[in-house]
């Protein structure tokens, strides 16, 4: 759909003034005069909006209105500007008034009034009015139009019409049974489909029919573009070919084409499988590694997106850790590549991160509101097939206690019932709260030095300081104010009373000896904060971390950050 060059401006009266309900305030300068159309489309950097463009925010009422063009004389409404102009001529206006005042046409971009929409952001504005209208209807409007043949619903009538034209008119069916609505996808699939390879192998004794005629089946709508009757599906032949070192398999030897593959075969990209032995790794490295960096390390190494099990060498499923996410150490195993093997329940993932971040609150928070966490990222990477399980994961991200408020506040007041799907997992707190908290972390006085947090961990003090710690260099001395172990690396003391205070009363499943670590975390507020969210727990990292009392305390005074409107445009 080419960008619509309809640059007719909006009826100023309607657009700038009317704001119904909880709409954002009127846009900046809405010029009363109308400009002529055909602004030349200036080419912008991709994705980068024109800095000089005028951003126009229209209200939903305006966008949905069908008669946007109103005659100022008699208040008659028209769908199109041209029609309005024609009408105005009938009023016998003096010449001057009849003409539109010409002014330099300024490029206009339009934002969506829906606050949570990505196009609410001026940098994601749409360039034409029709586009934003259609977008608004499609995304936030009610789907009033329904296709007769299939069940698809549409909010914009033209979409519905376009769909109805093609629905069920043409379908392409491959021998393997897959259906396609578009010819090019069908052709591409067909070329590589196993069914063709097999059939061709079998077709050698007799001449295959190269140009199959469409087979008229009982259902006249379906044109089956396939050759001779489909054969039972063979097992995928790919693995065989892969190992063939360039020799054509027997069936294809007489292929019309000549495959000349020089000298050596090209191996398929070797699948690098991480064979880390995790416990050993921990023993070796933890002492000198901050949890934060450790996690980075793990993150990067565990960063494979496991595919179907066949792609990964180990067929045997990794031993699933116990369902309680809290039991950590056991969860480590070297073969996390077979992450797909574990059940999709987030709590029983075999990823080490489940362990690392497993919250101690097992059941209670399993259905916690979707607070996105870094751990989710890691989990998602480990389990691309089960992303739905990420959000109800038992992994408790570091968060303030805003999880409770999260769901409702984002979508604000009523009237925004336009969600067409479940609300995406939103951050648990407003930007304000997040930043404030981060700021507090920076400002809070703590006992621990960043350096300690960075993992120069020794029971005595922050004496051991590796010189290659670039980050550490700047914060050699424990500082009271700006350095916070709380933020990154709050390392509360080992098991002791500090831990219990920090734990906010949640039963520690780990036993008293486990050090509790926050990833980027905040040893949680001692005292008052009614925290639903808990600091992540990193279990006894081989006992190597015997940290001095860095009671991380960014004590979040009274942390009653209510989840104010999370305006996620």
């Amino acid at each position: 759909m080419p960008v619509d060059l309809d640059n007719s401006s909006t009826a100023s009266g309607e657009a700038s003034v009317s704001s119904s309900g909880n709409q954002p305030p009127p846009p900046p300068h809405q010029p009363p005069s109308k400009s002529t159309a055909t602004a030349k489309k200036k080419r912008n950097l991709p994705g980068m909006p024109d800095p000089e463009a005028e951003v126009i925010a229209l209200s939903p009422k305006t966008l949905l209105a069908t008669n946007r063009f109103v005659c100022e004389i008699c208040n008659k409404g028209f769908q199109r500007d041209q029609n309005l102009q024609l009408h105005r001529r009938g009023h016998n206006l003096p010449w001057k008034l009849r003409q539109r005042s010409s002014k330099d046409v300024k490029k206009r971009v339009y934002v969506c009034p829906e606050p949570s929409c990505v196009h609410h952001d001026p940098t994601r504005a749409l360039g034409d009015l029709t586009g934003i209208k259609k977008h608004f209807c499609r995304k936030h409007g009610e789907k009033k139009w329904k296709c007769d043949k299939c069940s698809k619903k549409y909010a914009v009538q033209s979409d519905w019409k376009a769909h109805s034209k093609i629905c069920g008119t043409r379908e392409y069916k491959c021998d393997c049974g897959t259906l396609f609505s578009r010819r090019d996808s069908f052709i591409t699939h067909r070329a590589f489909c196993d069914a063709l390879a097999e059939e061709s192998a079998r077709a050698q004794p007799h001449t295959p029919n190269p140009n199959p005629k469409p087979i008229q089946e009982s259902d006249p709508k379906v044109q089956v573009e396939s050759s001779p009757p489909p054969a039972p599906l063979p097992p995928p032949v790919a693995p065989d070919f892969g190992s063939d070192q360039g020799q054509a398999p027997p069936g294809l030897a007489q292929s019309n084409g000549m495959i000349s593959s020089p000298v050596l075969a090209i191996q398929s990209p070797v699948l690098h499988k991480e064979k880390l032995n995790f416990p050993c790794l921990f023993d070796k490295c933890l002492i000198f590694m901050s949890p934060f960096l450790l996690i980075i390390f793990s993150l990067l190494h565990y960063a494979e997106l496991p595919d179907n099990p066949p792609q990964f060498i180990e067929e045997a499923p990794a031993p699933a850790p116990s369902p309680t996410p809290a039991t950590v150490t056991a969860g480590f195993n070297g073969s996390f590549g077979s992450g797909t093997s574990s059940s999709s329940n987030g709590s029983s993932t075999s990823s080490v991160f489940a362990s690392l971040f497993a919250s101690s609150t097992a059941s209670g928070n399993l259905q916690a509101p979707q607070t996105p966490a870094f751990t989710d990222l890691i989990h998602a990477m480990a389990h691309p097939d089960h992303p739905t399980d990420l959000t109800p994961s038992s992994i408790e991200p570091i968060s303030l206690c805003l999880s409770t408020n999260q769901g409702s506040s984002i979508f604000g007041t009523a009237g925004q019932e336009r969600r067409q799907y479940a609300p995406p997992p939103q951050p648990a707190m407003s930007a304000t709260a997040l930043l404030q908290k981060a700021a507090q972390m920076g400002a809070a006085a703590t006992n621990a030095s960043l350096l300690r947090g960075l993992g120069i961990v020794s029971s005595s003090s922050s004496s051991a300081q590796p010189d290659n710690m670039q980050w550490g260099q700047r914060q050699m001395e424990p500082e009271n104010s700006s350095v916070t172990a709380g933020l990154g690396l709050g390392l509360p003391c080992d098991g002791g009373s500090g831990l219990k205070e920090l734990m906010m009363g949640t039963p520690s499943v780990f036993g008293p000896k486990h050090a509790t670590l926050d990833f980027l975390g905040l040893g949680m507020a001692a005292g008052g904060s009614p925290s639903g969210g808990l600091s992540a727990l990193i279990t006894s990292i081989g006992g190597g971390l015997d940290v001095a009392a860095a009671a991380a305390a960014a004590s979040f005074g009274g942390g009653e950050f209510s989840g104010k409107d999370m305006r996620r445009s």
Binding site: V3, R43, L45, P122, R138, V156, F192, L196, I259, P397
Partner: protein, 449 residues
């Protein structure tokens, strides 16, 4: 874009308002403008702050920002959240290089080796018209250029493992004067970027041959014989081997090594390819002369005298030396495919997550690597066009048939996708008006009379 930030209509109560006046805390001070709204602009700022903190070795600030971003990010959230999680990951990867010794790992970077089967890849390239646009425009231009020839040789430089060719073979089969004989040659090595296939290129060639035979098109498939590509992957560090391979490849692009034949129409197809050829000199400055591999490649292929050279790539400049500029551009460009995926696929679609993860792979290379290891050096269409002209090519327009075909392709894909024509006869795929992918066709200048 300078607009007044529409004020928030809700009041924000701060627990400790004074904290925001804390001069020591640079984070809150600088991000005041984001109060109340974590929209794309704010996230972008956060990313930039994080990058800047890393560059200044400010661990505290970096962690603070990462903490905030962490709370925003979600792989299954809305496009902004998804993008954020990939960017955060890339920043962490970059951060990890800041103190590698403490991390005690081999620094080989993230290895993402999800491999697809050929049929899965066929679906992958059609999830959104991102690739199909280029395929369609290129194939149509190629068809036109080889009119009258009975033999065609295609040099295919791309990352999508020959997914482009079935439709061309199909079209050739239907040529009124009968199909030409077709030869496709691919390089043996390919940039180590997704999408990855679980079979060799020989296998792909086999299947194509099969298909061509099925369509009665005489067909031949060659893989350029380049011993360098068979060097064991372990012997050369992953990323620098890339450069090494390309230089070796260049040596094989001669008429004799390619076995060029006189009566053949030579077609060169560069799809998502040029960006992997280094465009910097030893010092790391972007150049457009003989010192860059990219230009050397263009001159080499010009010397082969193709009857058409099609170049398709993504339309954005992601190769700036400055990290913040890359972050900004990358963030503002890659929201496009994320948004498109959001429109067409449900949140929990694994295909979508995988597609996004491949984009994440790209993000990581752009953000967290420097020097030779940063292999993603995308230039905008305009810059590529200039480079082509410098190398001695002239652009040729796409004919009306082609444009019509692309248009109907986009119409089939439903709204949001558009197309526009730009300078140098460039066709550009747009999503909601934003440039995504460009397609151009060129001939050596001295061929044009």
């Amino acid at each position: 874009m300078r607009t007044e930030l529409r004020g928030n209509t809700t009041s924000i109560s701060l627990q400790n308002p004074s904290l925001f006046n804390d001069p020591e805390n640079s984070l809150s001070g600088e991000l005041k403008g984001c109060l109340g709204s974590l929209d794309g602009a704010c996230i972008e700022k956060l990313l930039l702050h994080c990058a800047s903190a890393l560059e200044h070795n400010d661990g505290t600030l970096a962690q603070q920002v990462m903490w905030v971003l962490n709370n925003v990010a979600s792989l299954v959230g809305d496009p902004n959240q998804r993008l954020t999680s990939w960017f955060l990951r890339a920043l962490i990867s970059r951060a990890s290089k800041v103190c590698p010794a403490a991390m005690d790992f081999d620094g080989s970077g993230t290895i993402r080796r999800r491999q697809m089967s050929v049929t899965e890849l066929a679906v992958y390239v059609d999830l959104i018209p991102w690739h199909r646009f280029g395929f369609c425009a290129s194939n149509s231009a190629i068809l036109k250029a080889i009119e009258g020839y009975s033999k065609v040789h295609i040099l295919d430089f791309s990352i999508t493992h020959c997914m482009q060719w079935p439709t061309l073979i199909d079209a050739l089969a239907k040529r009124p004067e009968g199909p030409p004989s077709l030869r496709i040659t691919v390089p043996s090595c390919r940039p180590p970027v997704p999408p990855f296939l679980n079979v060799s290129c020989e296998e792909v060639g086999l299947r194509l041959s099969n298909f061509a035979k099925f369509k009665d098109v005489p067909f031949e498939f060659n893989v350029i014989d380049d011993p360098a590509c068979f060097a064991s992957p372990e012997s050369i560090p992953q990323e620098s081997s890339h450069e090494f391979h390309f230089e070796s490849l260049m040596n094989h692009l001669t008429p004799s090594m390619l076995n060029l034949r006189d009566d053949e129409a030579l077609v060169i197809n560069c799809q998502n390819w040029l960006r992997y050829l280094s465009n910097i000199d030893q010092k790391g400055n972007v150049v457009q002369d003989s010192s860059s591999l990219r230009d050397a490649f263009l001159r080499t292929v010009k010397f082969l005298n193709p009857c058409i050279l099609v170049v398709v790539d993504e339309d954005s400049d992601l190769s700036a030396p400055s990290l913040s500029s890359r972050i900004t551009t990358c963030f503002n460009y890659l929201w496009i495919p994320f948004d498109a995926l959001e429109t067409f696929l449900p949140k929990d679609s694994s295909q979508r997550v995988e597609y996004e993860s491949d984009i994440g792979h790209k993000i990581e290379n752009i953000i967290s690597f420097e020097g030779l290891q940063r292999i993603e050096r995308l230039e905008s269409g305009i810059e590529v066009a200039q480079r082509m002209k410098n190398a001695g090519f002239s652009s040729v327009p796409f004919c009306e048939d082609t444009i019509g075909e692309v248009r109907s392709l986009l119409e089939e894909h439903a709204s949001g996708w558009g197309m526009k024509k730009e300078a140098d006869h460039m066709l550009v795929l747009t999503w909601k008006g934003h440039n995504s992918v460009f397609a151009t066709a060129w001939v050596p200048s001295d061929l044009q009379d």
